[in-house]
């Protein structure tokens, strides 16, 4: 295996033979690494396809590698991120936002009364924007953020921010109501 820095430099090299050799070694490394991380979740042709696609993604992002980490860690992080998103996409691609929201189980339990569940659900309806409501209900029903992002044509980070804003709004909503009824552990402390 080449040294970390030499590997990155060979992939950027103008020398076609050196670049091809480095790419082949990187493909082998990614395949071994993905197989080790995912085990039986990712095998055979799927493993080959995702390895190849990861390699292309890494090539496209090479200019952003700044040397803040080892090259292998950086490349593995890109490959694992792509593999996880792709497996989630395959699993959830036919689940609509509405169906996902319906999957959510809103039953009360020992720590949350029916009245508190009702308050949470009312907060979602009353305090959030339509986009926030749709996203939070689908996410609570099990739809991955990466899938929400793919469908909305935005990054996963943008969906996370949307949901973070929604949580902040809900906390304010619950705190205001806690003043009146002293509920839900003083509006979640």
């Amino acid at each position: 295996m080449p040294s970390e820095q030499a590997w990155a430099e060979s992939l950027r090299s103008e020398d076609q033979a050196a670049q091809a050799h480095a790419a082949a070694e990187l493909r082998d490394y990614l395949k071994r690494t993905l197989a080790k991380g995912f085990g039986r979740q990712l095998v055979d042709a799927d493993l080959d396809d995702i390895t190849q696609e990861s390699l292309l993604k890494i090539h496209r992002k090479l200019d952003t590698f700044s040397g803040q980490s080892r090259f292998t860690t950086w490349a593995a992080a890109i490959a694992v991120n792509y593999a996880v998103s792709e497996l989630r996409r395959r699993r959830h691609q036919h689940v609509s936002l509405e169906d996902a929201a319906e999957q959510a189980d809103w039953s009360a339990d020992a720590t949350t009364s029916e009245a508190d569940v009702e308050l949470l659900r009312r907060g979602i309806s009353e305090a959030l924007t339509e986009r926030q409501r749709i996203a939070i209900e689908a996410a609570l029903g099990g739809l991955p953020l990466s899938e929400l992002a793919r469908r909305q044509g935005v990054s996963q980070g943008a969906v996370y921010k949307l949901l973070h804003d929604a949580r902040c709004r809900l906390r304010v909503y619950l705190a205001e109501r806690a003043e009146n009824r002293g509920s839900m552990q003083e509006a979640l402390s």
Binding site: K36, T73, V80, V84, R88, A104, S107, L170
Partner: protein, 76 residues
């Protein structure tokens, strides 16, 4: 068999641990490699990374897979 987490329990947990400042998934992904390599020294940034890992089940799962993938091979 693991019990399914109800929507209200998940939402309550997320609300309880919500902070004004959180990393989003894109920021987490940019920092995950240096973090796992031990190159992040600022305790505040490390705390933000750990918080996001707990708060975002997807980035949390990804981190677990990546740690498993990068773990040294067992020597026979």
């Amino acid at each position: 068999m693991s019990e399914r987490v109800t929507a209200q329990a998940l939402l309550r947990r997320l609300l309880e641990s919500t902070r004004e400042r959180e990393l989003d998934c894109d920021q987490f992904q940019e920092l995950i490699a240096p973090w796992l390599d031990g190159k992040i020294e600022d305790p505040a940034v490390k705390a933000l990374l750990e918080h996001h890992r707990q708060q975002c089940p997807e980035c949390g799962e990804e981190t677990e897979i990546l740690l498993r993938a990068l773990a040294p091979d067992d020597k026979a």
